[in-house]
């Protein structure tokens, strides 16, 4: 199957890459510039969405600096380090997810947060955007990119366990993004299309069984509400009506920064977090929304480029995985705010207010940079 990715080549590539790790600080200048643009734009919008609160802005700026630090740091580690630590990181994430299920903090009906003493509270599911690509990349690499039937079952288990835990929190949005992310990784690895067809059949068969026998009534009720906001007009329905109104009333060029009535009069819920693009739409209009989406598309393109120019299969798989999952967050968040997808409660990466998402996203960028751009590791 994945022989198209390479397989053990007899040709030695190492002569292409010289230099030694540790002598140069490596990062991709294009990605960094795009990221900084996004962060800067995000801070300006946040300042408005937070009701022009300097303290809130300062908080976020500190988190973003921390995130940039993580990016730098993560990008300097060896590919071999990630490879070696992938199972440990995965196991750690799984443990944290179990911890969330047992003593996580509930907020608005779902249990996503972990509040450990001495640490700011955080969402362990955010780590999956790093640990899941790593473990999938690790597994495929250990199988020498030749996956057999058993390997698919193993992958289903490896991916299914954390995704299932996330799903039960419930965090349907993240679970969906992770599943599609992993499927995309396999697609990009060249897995034969018939396996995807098989996967679809499996989903088609198992879905009714899970719906009827695994889910409880409240699961079913929540999922039905997700697709029928009218069932819950004061919460999900209200959110979507108000966010569409905010975006639509912005028009071509918006009402002007700080002038959004929907957000500043509290009609728009979660204006500084999940619904931040509605604030952008209302205050800055169509033009800046499109600019923002283009910026995300450019980041996606750059990360894909870096992944495809990786020197090793592991880097390619991990890099594309991180890219696809990042992009999935963007798509699902924006589609949700624009009323194309149910409201699932996801942040807009690098722009929404909050620490977990921004820091893990930038750390993931660092990992992607590391595994895709460090060539030295090819020399054993």
């Amino acid at each position: 199957m994945t022989e198209s990715l390479g397989g053990r080549s007899t040709r030695a590539h190492h002569h292409f890459f010289s230099g030694s790790y540790g002598q140069t600080i490596k990062f991709d200048i294009v990605l960094i510039i795009l990221t900084l643009l996004l962060l800067g734009f995000g801070l300006v919008v946040l300042y408005s969405a937070l009701g022009q609160s300097w303290s809130g802005l300062l908080n976020q700026a500190i988190r973003l600096c921390l995130g940039l630090g993580c990016l730098m740091l993560a990008s300097q580690l060896r590919v071999s380090t990630y490879y070696r630590w992938a199972p440990t990181v995965y196991a750690g994430t799984i443990m944290l997810l179990f911890a969330v299920a047992v003593f996580g903090v509930s907020n608005k009906g779902s249990q996503r947060w972990l509040d450990l003493p001495g640490l700011p509270s955080f969402q362990p599911s955010e780590f999956l955007k790093i640990s899941l690509p790593l473990i999938v990349g690790w597994y495929i690499t250990t199988r020498n990119f030749k996956l057999k039937f058993f390997d698919y079952l193993a992958l289903i288990l490896i991916v299914g366990l954390p995704t299932g835990l996330v799903f039960l929190q419930p965090d349907y949005g993240t679970a969906l993004i992770l599943l599609i992310g992993v499927a995309s990784m396999l697609f990009l690895c060249g897995v034969r299309l018939r396996w995807f067809a098989g996967g679809l059949v499996l989903v088609a068969i198992s879905a009714p069984i899970i719906w009827n026998f695994v889910f409880r009534d409240y699961h079913r009720s929540r999922i039905i509400t997700l697709f029928n906001p009218e069932r819950d007009p004061l919460n999900a329905g209200w959110n979507i009506i108000q966010s569409k109104t905010a975006v639509g009333s912005g028009g071509l060029t918006g009402k002007g920064l700080f002038e959004g009535t929907q957000s500043h009069l509290d009609f728009l819920p979660e204006g500084h977090t999940d619904f931040i693009i509605a604030v952008i739409g209302e205050e800055l209009g169509f033009v800046w929304c499109v600019a923002l989406l283009c910026c995300y598309l450019l980041i996606f393109a750059r990360l894909m480029y870096l992944s495809t120019t990786a020197t090793n299969g592991f880097g390619y798989v991990v890099g594309t995985g991180i890219t696809v999952i990042f992009f999935g967050y963007v798509l699902v968040n924006v589609a949700m705010v624009l009323g194309l997808l149910p409201v699932v409660g996801l942040p807009l990466p690098l722009v929404s207010y909050g620490g977990s998402s921004a820091i893990t996203t930038m750390a993931a960028f660092g990992v992607a940079l590391a595994v895709c751009t460090h060539k030295q590791d090819l020399e054993k």
Binding site: L5, G6, H13, S80, S184, F300, S307, T308, G313
Partner: protein
Amino acid sequence: MSTKRAYDPVPLTLSKTIVYRASAAAVVASLLIFLLVARLYQLQIVEHERYATQALENRLTTQTIPPPRGLIYDRNGNNLASNRIVPSLAVIKENVDNIDTLVANVRALVEFSAAEESSFRKRLKNAQGDEKVIIKRHLNEEQLAIEAVNRHRFGNILVITEILREYPYKALASHVVGSVRQITIEDLRQLDTVRYRGSKFVGRRGVENYYEDILHGEIGLRQVEVNASGRVMSEISVDPATRGQTITLHLDIELQRVADEALGDRRGAVVAIDPKSGGILALVSKPSYDPNVFVTGLEGNEYDRLSARADAPLFNRATQGKYPPGSTIKPLLGMAGLAAGVIDWELEFDDPRGEFQLPGSDYVYRDWNWRKSGIGGQGHVDLFRAIYRSSNIYFFHLGAVLDIDTFASFLGQWGYGRNTTLDILDADPGILPNNTWKKNSTGEWWYPGDNMNFVIGQGFTLVTPLQLATVATIFANRGKWVRPRLLLSSEQPVELDQDFPPVQGVFGHEWERMIEALTAVVHRGHKGYLQNGLAWAHIGMDISYQMAGKSGTAQVVAIPQGEEYDEELLPEDKRKHALFFGFAPVHDPVIAVATVVENGGGGSEFAAPVVRQVIDSYLADIVANTDD
């Protein structure tokens, strides 16, 4: 590296499949972004107008500003109805989770009776979700302080200020001024919903009701910016409310008090009219009630309690109480006879025994002072004497020659059987019978016997104290009409209807002669029993001015043939009503007064003194003011 866990790099070969698939991913990603851009285009460009409107509607709310109600004054500038700002406890219905807890919390703050509680629960049940429901009105300083200290404990209990109508004279003027009450759902069906948006009260009795239109004022509008929870963030524009007009009544509240005290604890009514203007100087109906209880409506069963009372304090006896006119009808009938030409001032009837029989009938009609002993005849009686001695026999003779329809059409000119008031709510027209009326209401034509009852003011004829006072006014004005009215002035003039033409068919000297006879009722004395005016003994002996009047005594139950009326033997509510009307000074009248004292007894003895007290007070006031 030889361990399996160690990194064993597999070089990346960009096979055709990989390139193909990576390109596919890029295309899909671009398409998805394009989809989002298309959606943005739809929302922000195509449907922009719609969402912009919606955002505007979200944020802008028009609030109504209820106008302050116009004030009501009496002729001397005494305030009869004012507006007072009172602090009250309230709760927004949506914020009530548990009524029992709320009630317990209220009890911890203020005294809260069971009646208040049940009223509150009822109103809470009927309220809209975002409506403020009053828990308790009229908090005093101490209660406000207690609330302020405990505010943090009971977050959903609010202190709000309300503008409430207040009637400083309480029960004294209630039958004139009336009262407002809270607008009910039924009211809203009839009221102009735009004009009354935001108004809580509507006039429902008396002047408050009749002049509701000008007292209410015009609502103001305030456009405000609200946030999602409906809290007002800023004011965009204000169109202020126009307060209702201040109006002044002819009423003289001090004279009203005199009339009220003259009636004392007895049931009845007093109406005093200025014969020059028709303005009502006093209008008392007793028992009365405190109109302030209707304003708040908190004491929900207070209305039921009042309306269940046997003495009917809510009933306005002055304008709606109907009584047989008794002998007060006699001067009018005399005028009717004169106008018809069937009698003149010289004509005399002989009355040896105080009895009268219609030709061909055995039935004996008796004078009011008839005795079984057979004495009580008044001798030769002319019209003048028939008035000041109130001879039934004279009028039986008149009734034998003049038919009911002639009487009725003449009495109609005096306001009998009509509501002649200009601005008095629901004034009763009373009953003025005639041939057709009797056929329609009883199925039988008018009998000669009916005429006998009619001429002594018994039987079918019924008048209100207000109509009696109107008759007094017409006498005072020598036949000229001024219709009774309450409104003296308002900020913008209110056009009242025209007065009626003067009473027809009676000449000027006849008016004077009749007024002389009415003056004799009060003043003719010291000439022996049958020569004295009937009211002289009770009010005329020490009177210092010239007053004309006529008493009447209305039987409530029929006295069987041959029986004497014995007051002591009858239960209180079957006793006669005492009536009297009068005016003074005779030659230039400034006041006309009528009274009915229910089950009070003889009119001269019990009603005349009430009228005199009112006139005394009014004339003394005028004298005092002229001296200044």
